[in-house]
Amino acid sequence: MNVSGERTFAAPRATVWQVLNDPASMAKTMPGVESFDIHDDRRWTANVKIPLGLGGLKMKVDMEKIEEREPEFAKLAVKGNGVGAMMNMETSFTLSDAEGGTAMAWSADVKIAGPVGSMGQRVLQPIVNQQVQHVLTALDGEVQEAMGNTG
């Protein structure tokens, strides 16, 4: 499943880049995050309980930055391991200066396996989109917060 989009942040590129590369703030953008530990600036793990409306989906998410061109491009490999579902995702984002802040073009190739797949694509795709929206909204928050700190 390929998902992509653009998003503009009312913040300078450096701030957006700093948030995107800070494992602590990135971990907080994960839906239903319960705990996380940072191995180094390229790898960290989050334990999440993704709120699926009818119940939580527990998952251990390992993130690893596999490519980087500061401050414009980064690519991450995300491996989610849970009993309800396994996720293998590769996502990348490109930052560029835009009127009023920074424009981020992102894309993600999401592979879902396991029991949740048996619920049917028509439910699965919207659920994935919802989680992506959650991350983007949370990212907005993190960026604003980062703005607040430096302001």
Binding site: M86, N88, A113, G117, S118, M119
Partner: protein
């Protein structure tokens, strides 16, 4: 007390009196099934049994790097586990039917080192309760290294495509070129060569309502497994399991009673049965396994998905068909469990129902990261017959002729029967043109133009289509040698025993595993006719039990053969019993020859003086409990076992010619569809089905088979499909998206029948039950008629029909 006398050659057959055969006797099986007192495998309970749950692969193709069951086994109430590693140590790979390269794959009952389709069993966990077994399975840790998945047979052999089985050196499993007649002469003589680039028969399966299951007990003292199961071909399962488990086949006692539908899908559960056996022995407790619907869809018995590429048809302008050449590419899924037999079984109906004599088919079977294929209703013949019917309709469209006329011009004629096909099969009897006329009459074919106009007025596109199909029954397993010349299988057989008990009760045991075909009833009808008694006096034991010793290598219920092999075995055993009863009575009455005696009113009497009468009860009592004074040489046990063997030869491996099936039932269906052109949604508004199944022992049961197969075909044509995404995830893993039609989906149905007895079988019967594929052919033809576009896929959901409409308009 008595040793069954066994002979394989029946005495002179007794003339079957007109009586029970041919009547729609009400089924004996119904009383228990209607009161919820049937015994299906998940109903069986044993003290201390453990429930088995499989840990299944979430990936379509991946190396297994680590398996850790310690967390699962630590749970209180978990009895134990079984891993691929243990299986590889305890058992040998399953015997492979294929020749090289398929012969080289190593198939164990759990994944060893690598997983090859989503849902493949990796670890088995046994626990005290069903729920706990699943909880514990979630604690089994398995690490995978995902690999790219192979999901399209057409690219399976490309150089950059991953290889499933390194032992086979590639994804090619089996290939064979079949060529009969003189292709060059046919194409030279042709007015025109019709080219069809690609046709696709889609992947689906018959989806019996009951999934697989077993309850296995191990008797440690005698090393004997009792396998309560719903496997429908115990003969085949034993041949696979014995060598793998390195035990004699007699150590594997198969017991079935009621089976919730099979349709071929319950032939290849031997891997799961081996896991149950190993765990029953390891844990020294009964092991119960029930497969749930999603597990079944992910892992079991998919139908053969087959592409027909670069087809060329040699035709005359008047519609006469001379011959065709095509390349068949078959997708076997991840393992060869009954395959590549599909690579030859289609050859039972090579020309379909037509008289063309020059045919070439280049067959290739490849492995992909999908669930393994197993026989499905119409196994491999449905795919080929769909192909021949598509060719007829496409040729008719190209020549601007009426599909009815092209069929009638090329059908094999009644007067040609028995008809030998280009590859040496013999169609025994049938009147195809006569059946088509009856079907057209039932659908009121003449009124179609008016109905088309009336539908147009309502904004609907009407289409009518014909689907003619053969139901080849009673395999000659010698055809397996065309797949692998070294195989030592040929012919076919089935066994029955009939005995008179001490009090004269008539008890029949069969070697078959009925799943709804009413064997207890039809067998009783045959016995009652020969013993001239009532069907109510005949007790046929339910199901199969290898301890009854009434089974042989090919015992089971599959491939449309009961009416021939099963009933012929029953007839043979009953003829023997009748002869023995007369021999006994002759001795008791004092030197009365058999011809002077007759069976009637539940006993045997002298024709000329009927009051000299010996009831069956007396016969049973004499032989079993009161046999002093009988003549020394009186060889009578009243417990007769007969093995029926159909008259077959071993096919010629070089020319690939030979008689591969004994009988050919026929079905011709006509479907009328109405399409909503704006959405592509359509429904079948009228349907006719005409069948010719030879002598019908129980007409109502025969018609029930025709209806059931028709409903399955309609489901496959419109809704049922197994499709995978590029990562090898099944997109229709359960009844959410795999829509099985229900009562409201069924069209009105008109049925008709002819009865052309088979000259090759003792009772004139023909194996039948799998010919329903005609529904797929008819719906495809009707959609082509309604849209005007060429239909190239056997599955036509609304979306595809919408596209066909727009293609036709563009």
């Amino acid at each position: 007390m008595t040793q069954a006398s066994e002979t394989t050659l029946a005495p002179a057959p007794v003339e079957v009196q007109k009586g029970w055969a041919g009547q729609s006797v009400k089924r004996k099986e119904d009383k228990r099934l209607l009161q919820g007192e049937g015994v299906f495998v998940d109903d069986i309970k044993r003290h201390g049994m453990g429930y088995l749950h499989f840990v299944r692969s979430p990936y379509a193709h991946a190396h297994i790097t680590r398996v850790d069951v310690s967390a699962a086994e630590a749970i209180d109430g978990v009895y134990g586990t079984l891993t691929g590693e243990e299986v590889a140590a305890l058992t040998d790979p399953f015997f492979q039917i294929s020749s090289v390269p398929g012969a080289n794959i190593k198939d164990f009952s759990l994944a060893v080192g690598k997983v090859r389709y989503v849902g493949e069993p990796v670890v088995a966990v046994v626990a005290e309760t069903r729920e706990l077994a699943r909880d514990a399975s979630e604690l089994v840790e398995v690490d995978f290294e995902p690999l790219a998945a192979v999901v399209d047979a057409r690219t399976a052999q490309d150089s950059d495509t991953p290889v499933l089985h390194d032992d086979a050196g590639g994804n090619l499993m089996w290939s064979g070129l079949y060529s009969w007649g003189d292709l060059d002469a046919a194409f030279a003589e042709a007015d025109r060569v019709v080219k069809i680039p690609e046709l696709h028969f889609h992947r689906f399966n018959s989806t019996p309502l009951e999934c697989d299951g077993a309850l296995v007990e191990f008797n440690r003292g005698v090393g004997q497994w009792t396998i309560h199961t719903n496997n429908q071909f115990p003969g085949f399962a034993a041949i696979m399991m014995g060598p793998a488990m390195k035990v004699g086949l007699d150590k594997l006692r198969f017991v079935t009673q009621d089976i919730g539908g099979g349709f071929g899908n319950k032939i290849t559960s031997h891997p799961q049965l081996v896991v149950c056996c190993l765990l029953a022995r390891k844990l020294n407790r009964p092991v119960q396994w029930t497969e749930w619907r999603t597990d079944f869809h992910l892992s079991m018995s998919h139908g053969n998905e087959r592409w027909f590429q670069d087809t060329e048809v040699a035709v005359k302008d008047d519609g006469t068909l001379l011959g065709f050449r095509t390349k068949a590419l078959d997708d076997a899924g991840a393992w060869l469990r009954y395959e590549p037999l599909g690579g030859v079984i289609w050859a039972q109906v090579t020309p379909g129902m037509y008289r063309w004599r020059h045919i070439e088919l280049d067959f290739t079977q490849v492995a992909t990261n999908k669930a393994p294929v197993s026989p499905n209703r119409g196994y491999s013949r449905m795919q080929h017959l769909w192909f021949t019917e598509r060719v007829i309709d496409i040729v008719a469209r190209e020549l601007g002729l009426d599909p009815v006329e092209v069929r009638k011009k090329n059908y094999i004629r009644a007067e040609d029967m028995p008809y030998e096909t280009p590859n040496g099969c013999v169609y025994d009897s049938g009147d195809y043109a006569g059946m088509l006329d009856l079907a057209l009459e039932l659908i009121d074919y003449g009124a179609i133009p008016a109905k088309r106009a009336e539908a147009e007025a309502r904004g609907k596109r009407l289409g009518v289509g014909i689907g003619s199909t053969l139901d080849s029954g009673t395999n000659n397993f010698g055809q397996s040698r065309l797949i692998n010349p070294e195989l030592q299988f040929s012919g076919n057989n089935e066994v029955a025993t009939v005995k008179l008990d001490i009090f004269g009760e008539i008890v029949v045991t069969l070697g078959t595993t009925p799943q709804g075909q009413g064997h207890e009833t039809t067998a009783a009808q045959v016995v009652a006719d020969i013993l001239n008694c009532s069907v109510d006096d005949v007790h046929v034991r339910a199901g199969h039990d290898s301890y009854w010793n009434s089974h042989a290598g090919f015992s089971g219920t599959y491939a449309s053969q009961f009416a021939v092999t099963g009933l012929s075995a029953v007839k043979g055993a009953t003829d023997m019993l009748a002869a023995e009863i007369k021999k006994l009575a002759g001795a008791v009455f004092g030197g009365v020859p058999p011809e002077a005696l007759e069976l009637a009113d539940g006993g045997v009497r002298i024709k000329e003086s009927p009051d000299a009468f010996l009831p069956f009860m007396a016969c049973g009592a004499i032989v079993n409990a009161n046999n002093a004074g009988l003549p020394e040489d009186l060889d009578v046990t009243l417990n007769c076992r007969y093995v029926y063997r159909p008259p077959f030869e071993v096919p010629d491996v070089e020319t690939k010619k030979g008689n591969l099936t004994l009988t050919y039932a026929t079905q011709i269906h006509v479907a009328v569809v109405e399409i909503d052109p704006e959405t592509g949604a359509y429904e079948i508004v009228d349907y006719a089905a005409v069948d010719d199944c030879g002598k019908r022992i129980n007409p109502q049961i025969v018609e029930g088979q025709v209806m059931g197969a028709t409903a399955q075909a309609i489901g496959a044509a419109i809704h049922e499909t197994y499709e995978y995404d590029e990562d090898g995830n099944l997109l229709t893993p359960n009844f959410y998206d795999y829509h099985v039609p229900h009562a409201l989906d069924m069209p009105p149905l008109a049925t008709g029948a002819l009865e052309s007895p088979s000259p090759f079988t003792p009772l004139g019967t023909k194996g039948m039950g799998e010919g329903g594929g005609a529904g797929i052919h008819a719906v495809c033809a009707a959609i082509q008629d309604a849209t005007g576009a060429i239909v190239t896929d056997s599955h036509n959901p609304y979306q595809r029909v919408w596209r066909l409409l727009h293609e036709a308009q563009a």
